[in-house]
């Protein structure tokens, strides 16, 4: 068994763009659920819109990558409005039902072959990050994300973080978005705005009785969290192809696990939660097959890799039961135990 190899591959996940994408979307969920009490079960939909909005913006509309990114963000804002206007006036649980369904609708829209020219259907979309535009879409010659990389070609860093200029560029861009995002959310939730939002999380009527427009606040929270979801999707799209198979409901649940792990009503919780989640996920995904190969587990290695998902489910249950506030959360500020 290649213990060192497993550990080194695992460690590289700490700085993986996927981890950062999760952290961004997790931050959005923290705004939704942790601070505003909005049960969004469709974060995968927001992420899909971010990723596809970006890819379609480049491939179909021929926009430069940075403008295309705003297409993704704009799509998530529109999505939040469409979800929020009918449901935010209703009781909280309705939002959960509607978001889970809406995210599925989005995914199926992206998957159906009816729009194959735009969405790529089951194949998804690729080649939108450049370099130098793409063959499939010459208009995108305005420059892809990869072309914007100022880092000279070459390998940088040290193992396990010895990587090429593109990987480092992704890490830097992701890191900057995350840092700005975390600062923004931290400012928000520690402001009078955050106070109103936290009040709404607990009792809308009380906040309404003090003259606050509860609906508007919930809508703002839904949009902000949704934009972070889109940024997560964008981050994924920067790093790889987009495919509707990624933005499934289980992605939403992984996000919830990462969020609850770190602490729902915290700003740094989603960050650390995502890091731990991905590192564990990667570690177990490598460890179990290796154990199986070494004959220590009674499964074949493909089955063994699936065990981690069972463990994630068990971990989520244990977490909610025994440490609902997460690693960073304040026990007194629990959001779902009263």
């Amino acid at each position: 068994m290649d213990v060192l190899g497993i550990l080194s591959s695992t460690a590289s996940f700490i700085l993986d763009p996927t981890t950062m994408a999760y952290a961004l979307a997790g931050l959005g969920l923290a705004v939704h659920f942790g601070f505003a009490g909005l049960l969004n079960m469709g974060m995968a939909g927001f992420m899909a819109l971010g990723a596809y909005g970006y890819a379609i913006g480049i491939l179909t509309f021929g926009l430069p990558w940075y403008l295309a990114a705003f297409v993704g963000i704009g799509a998530s804002i529109v999505f939040a409005l469409i979800l929020g206007i009918p449901t935010l006036r209703l009781r909280g649980d309705y939002l959960a039902i509607v978001t889970i369904a809406a995210a599925e609708i989005i995914r199926l829209f992206l998957l159906t072959s009816a729009f194959v020219d735009v969405t790529g259907s089951a194949d998804g979309l690729s080649g939108f990050n450049g370099p130098g535009g793409t063959v499939t879409n010459p208009i995108a010659g305005a420059g892809g994300f990869n072309d914007s990389n100022p880092i000279p070609d070459g390998e940088y860093g040290f193992p396990p973080f010895l990587d090429d200029e593109r990987t480092w560029y992704l890490r830097i861009v992701g890191g900057i978005i995350l840092a700005v995002g975390v600062y923004f959310v931290w400012r928000l939730v520690n402001s009078p705005w955050g106070r109103v939002i936290k009040g709404i999380r607990e009792d809308e009527e009380a906040v309404r009785s003090l003259g606050k427009n509860v609906f508007a606040y919930k809508m703002q929270a839904l949009i902000i969290g949704g934009v972070f979801g889109a940024l997560g999707g964008l981050m994924l799209a920067f790093s790889t192809n987009v495919n509707s198979g990624v933005y499934v409901t289980s992605l939403t649940f992984f996000l919830w696990t990462a969020l609850l792990l770190g602490g729902a009503a915290t700003v740094f919780g989603p960050l650390v939660g995502s890091a731990i989640f991905w590192v564990l996920q990667a570690f177990l995904g490598l460890l179990f097959p290796a154990l199986a190969k070494a004959g220590l587990l009674p499964f074949d290695s493909i089955q063994a890799a699936q065990i981690r998902f069972i463990l994630i489910g068990v971990a989520l249950v244990l977490l909610v039961v025994f440490r609902p506030q997460g690693i960073f959360g304040n026990k007194k500020e629990l959001t779902f135990v009263k």
Binding site: R187, S191, W193, R195, V196, A206, L210, G211
Partner: protein
């Protein structure tokens, strides 16, 4: 509170009404007028108020047996519930169809019978939430600390002053969830006052508050009047009602059955009937009272 040790002698406002005293009598200077407000829950008519006026800058008590429709009437007046029919206005402006938060912004603030202290916020944050027109509550401004810092400090001073009056200052950094039931009532009332309302509607503010604190709470309500506010409150204890109310409105089965000066109204057969079911020669204070208030020497 200036007078927490020796009770304030209530200065009763008189001459509030115009003409003969009867349910729905006109007031000289009404702040709130309700007309034909009816609310049905299925077959049950919870509120059916033909006409009622609340006098400005006075303390009005809304009394009536359990299930009389007092809370429902509060909900209707403040936009938390919608009546089947009727019109009502505050300061001459119609409130029909106005959402609850806008009603609150107009200066009509209510508290809830089932207390709504926000347990997951600190006592201080609860108070600050009450303050109106905060720049920092706007999404974009909230990110820029310097835009709202000064106002926040001001609010904190104001909140601390109120908390001291309500004897909650020692608890300011605790989560409101750690307060006792009575303390939550106090917090909710203090928070409502943070909005600097014109009319305060208190739904059983004294329920669950211990006698010593009740006294200072009563004094505080009296002070609100001195400061120019109008108070409408629901209370079951007739001693308290007699002690501080300038005017009493009695509801039974959704209707206003009597109005008047607190001493006179309790002799009204319709009121005694509403409470006791039959004509009995009992003082209502004895039946409903929890505590004995010091005699004010004003008993008629």
């Amino acid at each position: 509170m200036s007078s927490s040790d020796k009770p304030t002698t209530p200065v009763k406002s008189t001459g509030l009404h115009v003409g003969e005293i009867k349910p729905g009598v006109a007031k000289k200077d009404p702040i709130l007028i309700a007309d034909g407000v009816r609310r049905q829950f299925g077959g049950l008519t919870a509120v059916d108020v033909a006409h009622v006026e609340i006098p400005r800058n006075a303390i009005t008590a809304l009394i009536g047996p359990n299930g009389a429709g007092k809370t429902t009437f509060f909900n209707l007046l403040t936009g938390f519930d919608i009546p089947n029919e009727g019109t009502w206005s505050f300061n001459g402006k119609s409130l029909a169809g106005v959402p609850a938060f806008k009603v609150a912004r107009m200066g009509l603030i209510r508290t809830f019978q089932l207390t709504k202290a926000l347990g997951l916020l600190t006592v201080m944050d609860n108070m600050k939430l009450g303050s109106t027109q905060q720049t920092g509550e706007k999404l974009w401004a909230s990110v820029f600390h310097f835009l709202w810092k000064k106002k926040d400090v001001e609010i904190e001073t104001q909140a601390l002053d109120l908390l001291t009056r309500f004897k909650l200052d020692a608890k300011k950094d605790d989560y409101a969830a750690s307060l006792s039931g009575g303390q939550r009532k106090l917090l909710e009332m203090a928070r409502a006052l943070m909005t600097k309302p014109e009319l305060v509607m208190l739904d059983e503010p004294m329920a669950g508050v211990n006698p010593a604190l009740t006294q200072s709470l009563l004094d505080h309500i009296l002070n609100l009047k001195k400061e120019g506010m109008t108070v409408l409150f629901v209370e079951h204890d007739m001693h308290m009602v007699r002690h501080i109310a300038d005017w009493v409105i009695v509801m039974a089965e959704g209707k206003v059955v009597a109005e008047g000066d607190p001493y006179e109204v309790m002799k009204n057969p319709a009121v005694i009937d509403a409470y006791l079911g039959s004509h009995q020669d009992v003082d209502l204070g004895t039946v409903t009272g929890r505590i004995t208030l010091p005699k004010q020497g004003k008993e008629k």
